[in-house]
Amino acid sequence: MAVNTIDSEPPELSAYRGVRRIDHTPHIFNNQPARYYLMWLLLPAILLLAAISLYPFVWLIYMSLHEVQLAPGKSDLWAGIDNFTRLFSDKSFARGWVTLFKYSALCLSVEITLGVLVAVILNNSRLEKLFITIFLMPMMMAPVVAGFLYMFLYNGTFGWYFWLLRSLGVLDGGSILGNKTWAMAGVVATDVWQWTPLIALITLAGLKRVPQEQLEANMVDGAGPLRNFFSVALPNLYPFLLIAILLRFMDNFRFIDTILIMTGGGPANATKILPTYLFDVSFKFFELGRGAAIAFTLLLLTILLGLALTKIFEDPTRKIKTSGTE
């Protein structure tokens, strides 16, 4: 406690003893425990986030229990759990879920297959740089614009993809977006076009982390390139692919812009995934109470997905972040 004695002794005495005295008053922030300082940094963002997410969430619960009246002067009617019980008898609601899973399964299976294939081919090749630049372009496009672009390409009188499919003899007539099966394929193709590059980029990042020693050891043991891919590279890629799948699935029901533009859920509800149905209920028919109940079920799925994602992020054994220092 030598410092303290110098601090507490009168300055004249220090001068007399020949000790040079540094007058130091700790800065106000250093004086307090670090947690207060950090708390003040954290607070503004948390308060703002609570205001724009927790508060609406409370409103959502309120709305789901009421029949919401948008006309001024009218007050909302208490509905109890009617909005929820009605969902059980709502065929469009059930079909919305089924279509959502069908749509996501189609998108994901094609995207993962194509993305991994492209990434494996491109890895360490001369074309890698060029393709990565090209990959960026569809991803940066607003989903609305992508929707319009594909609508144009599918058009039954002047669309180039329509012409291509007809010339190949695959499409029997009619239009692409007017036929139930083809409409789903068309919507999926748009998503695949936009987001396969992301899967490829994620896989490329994953391939760079595959331990070379394992590949070499495997090759010394006589494995060919195909065997090498399936028994060494692929197991190392799993965490990356898992993240890709979760994120893409999440985005499949977060963004419905393309579907809304291209088909609006039609024809005959063939592409009406649940969020599209929710959009119709809330902002076409303005049945906001029922919409809130549907939104609530969607949020439950979100929470489940969130749990899965945080599990991955926190798993200490996962190989993604290990060499992640930038």
Binding site: T133, M137, L149, W160, L204
Partner: protein
Amino acid sequence: MASREIVRYKSPARSAFSVLVILFLIIFFVWTVLPLAIMLITSFKDLLDAFKLPQEGDWGGVGVMFDFTPTGDHYIELFTEKHFGVYMRNSLIASLGSAVVSVFLGSMAAYALSRAEFRGKRDLLFWIISTRMAPVVAVMVPLYVIFRSSGLVGTLPGLILAYTTFNLPFAIWILKGFFDNVPYAIEEAALCDGCNRWQALRMIMPLVAPGVGAFIVLCVLFGWNDFLFASIIGSGGAKTLPVATAELVQPVKIQWGSIMAAGVITTVPMMFLGLLIRRYLVTGLTMGAVRE
């Protein structure tokens, strides 16, 4: 890669395989680039040229695509008659405003979350990430009612606030991962040398600045490309580019030339931004799970 150093003998099977691989790459390349090319070309065609197609099965007629006299009419029309200048400004204000607010508050919170340990931190982080993951439509239902009663529908501040619902949690989450990678030892050293905590924070700023900049750009991108919030909450006074593009669809005839031109206007700036932050793009789009 080790496999390159192994001598490979040419065999018919192997060369057939490499031909297949090259063919696949070419098809994938065309599949990715063709729609973009068609969009760009169509935006310079007048309506008659845009609707020209070869006969079905007439593969030689593909050249029709390039048989046109370029015209800039669609672009001129968009900016003079359709007020796209205004919408572009709206888009820019809304997305940039939200990005700056989100990244500013987000980086402060992220730093705190990265350095502090407290009870309930995991729950807080989970809340943050699930806010970001919530479906836009589901968020919009209550937000619309709240904004309606407070007069925020159809205004730019309303739109900025709406975009912040997904940009702020994104910024907090991803910047936390960023600060986690900066060793605390740097700040400790600065504190030992007599800095106060603000100055210590300033010491690590140069290390995180590129990332912070990149994530501002990414937040701008998310806001710029948004359609749902803009169409419901921004409708009327705060029309953005995607909404204005969608409004070019009229019952009588869809003005494809103008739509493609509007698409080019909306897309090209974002592509350049994407190239600019290329190093951080995958990290950003995967919520920080994958780093290159």
